[in-house]
């Protein structure tokens, strides 16, 4: 620990304390709810009793969605790819309004009708099949552990670089904080800390981008220097046009723009808001905030090329710019932003994984009545937390890709069963199975043998194949039972 920068660390510690306070504040609600029987507890623990207001919904959606990828990996790649990568990142422009408008009120109405607290709950009622529920839940746990591990690695690297403590110390400090506040406070703690984190991210991003532009002598100066370095850095095709090709970059609209609807940690938020006003306000705030953050952070990465010339890996561009531009104590404040991005993603993923274990796997195999629910929930939360923490000790490289891989798997699993189940009466169990199996199967196939089918990102073709499989199989097999249709579409 010799040489640790305590002046950077101190503001971060204050921030951690604030997060703990929110966690323990929410614990009050959780412990009250722990006296409820069976599902009553989970309604508080997993969807916060469906009480989220507009601002909180917007912030938690943005904060959940924007992860280490957007704050560390994304700017890191923009460092080497220039404006082309900022351009690619802006494929996420619709995320703020798209998810909430498409799942929208219908998902919220249906969730209340069937008393769903996880997305898998929705699938369970809609398709009435235990194997499907188990398949989906197990893949949730699997993919989320991978995704959370990548996030922990990113955060620990950031802390390591900025505060100059060993990787293991940084990881322990960070992971314990997230795991503890999430476990004690549940969904309420997650969305409240997300809101705090959203605000912190926004302020820190604003300060950073202004300081970076000023330090580089204005936008024109920076763009000129980039262009002089390599004209590709200011072209949409990037320095390596075969890598950032038109088809590939555009296909990110499918992966990070539209298909995000299929991410369970995002869809859960569409079940937890209070009323239409919350939804409407969330769409506006969410779009504004996410667009600002995406643009500014990636631009910072691209501009960082001019500001800091000698860094070993792109992932370090944000901490490098921060420590170059700011006095140490202020650097701590600004760095809270990216850390917040990671925290707010991991906490939701942890909660969804816990929901999968307790509500979707355990409740399906055993009886979930009585007052044991709270205890079993805590035990499984701790178990997942510990596994993820342990996996992060041996960090893999290139977290953007790891993260995208997990997202792609989750999207292949959830997208069509959720969307078609919600909007298409003919959608049935066999179709859902067909779509999940062909989706994940063809994704693994393409990823291994043909990573860019038709020049596009790997996810696109598997998504189309799994849509086709869903529709064809659904038409070849009997309609869903009338009772299901009535439950979902009736009054």
């Amino acid at each position: 620990m010799a040489g640790a920068r305590f002046d950077v660390l101190l503001p971060l510690l204050f921030y951690f304390v604030a997060v703990y306070i929110l966690g323990f504040y929410s614990m009050k609600y959780v412990s009250q709810a722990s006296r409820r029987e069976g599902k009553g507890f989970l309604t508080e623990y997993l969807v916060g009793d469906r009480k989220m207001g507009g601002f909180v919904l917007a912030m938690t959606l943005v904060a959940t969605y924007l992860s280490a990828g957007s704050f560390i990996g994304g700017p890191g790649t923009a460092y080497s790819m220039g404006l082309s990568w900022v351009f690619l990142a802006m494929a996420q422009m619709p995320t703020g309004y798209f998810t909430l408008a498409v799942l929208g009120k219908k998902f919220a109405i249906v969730a209340r009708k069937i008393n769903a607290v996880t997305v898998t709950d929705f699938l369970k009622e809609r398709y009435e099949n235990k194997t499907l529920v188990l398949l989906v839940s197990v893949s949730v746990v699997f993919f989320f552990i991978a995704a959370m591990t990548a996030q922990f690695v990113g955060a620990a690297r950031l802390l390591q670089g900025a505060v100059n403590v060993p990787y293991q110390v940084a990881l322990t400090m960070f992971a314990l904080t997230v795991i503890i506040y999430t476990i004690v406070g549940g969904f309420r703690a997650v969305v409240l800390t997300d809101t705090l984190q959203g605000v912190v991210m926004s302020i820190s991003t604003l300060v950073l981008i202004i300081a970076a532009i000023a330090a580089g002598g204005g936008v024109k100066n920076i763009v000129d220097s980039l262009s002089a370095l390599d004209p590709g850095l200011i072209s949409p095709y990037g320095p390596d046009p075969t890598f950032t090709s038109m088809a590939w970059v555009t296909s990110f609209w499918i992966l990070v723009g539209f298909a995000v609807v299929g991410l369970p940690q995002v869809a859960t938020r569409a079940m937890g808001y209070k009323d239409c006003r919350s939804l409407n306000r969330a769409i506006i705030y969410g779009t504004a905030v996410s667009n600002f953050l995406l643009l500014a952070m990636h631009l910072l990465g691209a501009f960082g090329r001019v500001l800091v010339a000698d860094i070993s890996t792109g992932d370090l561009v944000v901490p490098a710019v921060v420590t170059k531009l700011f006095p140490n104590w202020l650097a701590g404040v600004v760095l809270a932003g990216p850390l917040a991005a990671v925290m707010s993603t991991v906490d939701s993923q942890l909660l969804v994984a816990v929901g999968a274990i307790i509500n979707d796997i355990y409740a399906n195999l055993f009886d979930l009545s009585g007052k044991k629910t709270a205890r079993i929930t805590f035990i499984s939360s701790v178990a997942i937390g510990v596994i993820t923490f342990a996996a992060a000790f041996n960090p893999p490289e290139l977290m953007v890709w790891l993260n995208l891989y997990a997202n792609a798997g989750l999207i292949s699993t959830f997208l069509w069963p959720v969307i078609l189940g919600l909007y298409w009466k003919r959608a049935n169990t066999a179709g859902a199975f067909a779509s999940i199996i062909t989706g994940i199967g063809s994704y693994i196939f393409f990823n291994t043998y043909l990573p860019r089918p038709l020049g596009m990102h790997t996810i696109v073709v598997p998504l189309l194949i799994s849509l086709a499989a869903f529709v064809i199989v659904a038409y070849l097999t009997p309609k869903p039972p009338a009772r299901v249709i009535k439950k979902f579409w009736g009054i």
């Binding site: 422009m93 408008a101 009120k105 949409p236 239409c276 506006i284």
Partner: protein, 104 residues
């Protein structure tokens, strides 16, 4: 989306709120596609020429300024307009058989 009336044999009254819900979902989808079109047309329309011939606004290359910066602002505004003008309030909880408000 794929709202086919394949369940005629089921005798029930459909939740009256869903018509508006479906409309709002389609609007979200439409706005998303428009967003993609704007981004693509400006990005590749103005960005595909050789870098020496680029024009600039406020220091940014024109393609980038229009597709990413103006695009972000424009579609935030459009999302706000969509929500304020076309989205309707409705109760989200279960409806009584009798009173059917919301809908449209």
């Amino acid at each position: 989306m794929k709202e086919k009336t394949t369940a005629e044999d089921v005798d029930f009254v459909e939740d009256p709120r869903y018509r508006q819900c479906n409309k709002e979902a389609l609007m979200g989808l439409g706005l998303g596609l428009l967003n993609l079109l704007w981004w693509f047309a400006w990005g590749y329309g103005a960005g595909s020429q050789s870098v020496q011939n680029y024009s600039y606004i406020l220091g940014f290359p024109l393609w980038f300024f229009m597709s990413c910066i103006v695009g972000a602002v424009l579609f935030t505004v459009l999302a706000a307009v969509m929500v304020k003008k076309y989205f309707q309030d409705m109760p989200l909880g279960p409806l009584d058989e009798k009173k059917q408000e919301g809908g449209r």
